[in-house]
């Protein structure tokens, strides 16, 4: 990547980062908060009999409080984990295993993150039954369908708050109410939502919530699971050992990482409203430029029920990976098959009913805390330029211009 943009005088020095749903850079305020806990205050937070242990414990407990406050929880309901993948595994497998004598059914959604779907697949192999709910074309689940899927054998319902590819936000309060009424625990993967949109475990009747550090300008390698105390949710641990985190997750807590997640949560709580307003303005600015200059650009997923910083666009007649190669100085991701080893386009887009040919043309563009207006303008111009160039060499675009219906052609699948 050393030759990026050398031919464009106004190009930035490094590629413009527009992949905030993949990960975020750490906020320097987070790093500052973490620094003392590496060398100076290095104690084991579980050491009960000396100063080093006490100061580390105090830092960890303060972080727990900062996380709890962002979601209206009690700090005793926060369990630190290595990240949202572990949290999702612990929530779903932990509840399923603990209640297996009474209940053997799980409800989830086809557009969940792979770590939820894969955990469910493993539980199916153990004999649990799993219902995978479809989504509507806007990416939202049908609440009546959810209610109908929950039986007296359903231990847990797992529905993500905001989707990692399309940013669509599910109706959490309504889902929580249905789960409570039907007597199933409600788990929500909030890897993308925590710190980005207002969440309240009481108002939304959430029983378990997965949280990630690195999606909210915190460190990688830390996450948390909110586990409700009243009514109490019980879990079978995945990791056994010294019984830390009230037996739900053994292992010495990584004090600096816990502090970082706590600080990131505190900043998110204070700045969420203004940050979201800014991100929505950037997003609208980007969309306005692109839609003003390019026909046949389609937004995947609902625009209103959506993370402020997320766009997922299909640029018809231009293949996603080919497009990314033309915008090497922009860091985005594609739902095209070619970016993965599977050669299948995004399962999330397919679940929305996006046709395969359009799924191949999609880009996920994520704006975040450090995205500037100048970067957004630059990115929009570069994308317009690259799409125009590739459409000029696309046989599908040519056919569309000639009025040929691409669906009328007998294509040979290969």
């Amino acid at each position: 990547m050393n030759d990026i943009a050398t031919d464009r005088p106004n190009a930035p020095q490094r590629p413009v980062y527009l992949d905030y749903q993949a990960t975020t850079p750490m906020d320097k305020r987070v790093l500052d908060a973490m620094m003392p806990y590496f060398v100076e205050k290095f104690g084991n937070p579980h050491s009960r009999n000396h100063e080093y242990g006490w100061e580390a414990e105090e830092a960890v407990e303060n972080a727990r409080k900062q996380i709890a406050e962002l979601i209206g929880a009690d700090e005793r309901e926060i369990v630190f984990t290595s990240g949202a993948t572990e949290s999702n595994n612990l929530a779903i497998a932990g509840v399923a295993h603990f209640y297996k004598d009474q209940k053997d059914h799980i409800v989830t959604v086809v557009t969940e993150h792979k770590c939820v779907l894969d955990t469910c697949r493993h539980l199916e192999q153990e004999g649990f039954k799993v219902t995978y709910l479809p989504v509507k074309t806007d990416g939202l689940i049908d609440l009546a369908q959810l209610e109908a899927a929950i039986t007296d054998k359903t231990a847990i319902v797992s529905v993500m708050a905001a989707n990692n590819e399309i940013g669509v936000i599910q109706k959490l309060a309504e889902i929580g109410a249905i789960c409570r009424k039907k007597g199933a625990f409600f788990h929500t993967d909030c890897a993308q939502a925590f710190g980005k949109i207002p969440l309240d475990v009481e108002a939304m009747k959430i029983d378990l919530m997965s949280i990630s550090g690195h999606k909210i300008y915190g460190p990688k390698g830390i996450g948390a699971l909110y586990v409700r105390r009243r009514p109490r949710v019980r879990l079978q641990a995945l990791i056994h050992g010294g019984g830390q985190e009230r037996g739900m997750r053994s292992g010495t807590l990584p004090t600096p990482l816990c502090v970082g997640l706590g600080k990131a949560a505190e900043i998110a709580k204070n700045e969420m409203a203004q940050e979201n307003a800014r991100l929505m303005a950037l997003r609208d600015r980007f969309l306005k430029t692109v839609n003003g200059k390019l026909p046949e650009v389609f937004l995947n997923g609902d625009l209103d029920n959506r993370l402020p910083g997320n766009l997922n666009l299909s640029f018809a007649y231009v293949e996603g990976e080919g497009l990314m190669m033309g915008i090497k100085d922009l860091c985005v991701s594609s739902g095209s098959a070619c970016t993965s080893a599977s050669l299948e386009p995004s399962y999330v887009l397919r679940a929305l009913g996006v046709e395969e040919e359009l799924a191949h043309t999609s880009l996920r563009i994520g704006f975040g805390r450090f995205t500037t207006e100048a970067e957004v303008d630059y990115a929009a111009d570069r994308i317009v330029q690259a799409v125009s160039k590739l459409r000029a060499m696309s046989p599908l675009w040519e056919m569309a211009q000639e009025g040929i219906d691409i669906k009328s052609i007998q294509w040979a699948a290969h």
């Binding site: 080919g322 040919e357 040519e398 699948a413 290969h414």
Partner: protein, 127 residues
């Protein structure tokens, strides 16, 4: 994914992009692939009275490797007789562009595109 220099060169400076009139009797058109699979190539050859391919054009919907493969074959077929062009192998394309295993299908598609264009030309001539 890291692309070879040759793929990047063909992607950034594609050779012979464009279209001929597909109803021209001297033109053979090959359209292969499928939008649902993420690759479609259109390759056209213009054949002289002596049976030599005088010119070639392409348009491709696909990843960088697909664009590079089709751009490359437009260069390779020019100046060849249609029989010679028909002997171009996908393995030669893949080797020349240093395509990784997951991109071999792009070179296969380019070979298919040449064959389809030649077949179309021959059909026109037979009528």
């Amino acid at each position: 994914m890291a692309y070879s220099e040759k793929v990047v060169d063909h992607y950034e400076n594609p050779r012979n992009v464009g279209s001929f009139d597909k109803n021209d009797q001297a033109v053979g058109t090959g359209l292969v692939g499928a939008p649902a699979c993420g690759d479609v190539m259109k390759l056209q050859i213009k054949v002289g009275a002596d049976g030599i391919i005088e010119d070639a054009k392409f348009k491709t919907f696909g990843c960088g490797s697909a664009i590079a493969s089709s751009s490359l074959v437009t260069e390779w077929v020019k100046g060849k007789s249609i029989d010679e062009a028909a002997t171009i192998k996908n393995t030669d394309i893949a080797k020349h562009l240093a395509l990784p295993p997951v991109k071999i299908h792009c070179s296969v598609l380019a070979e298919d595109a040449i064959k389809a264009a030649i077949e179309d030309y021959r059909k026109k001539r037979a009528v």
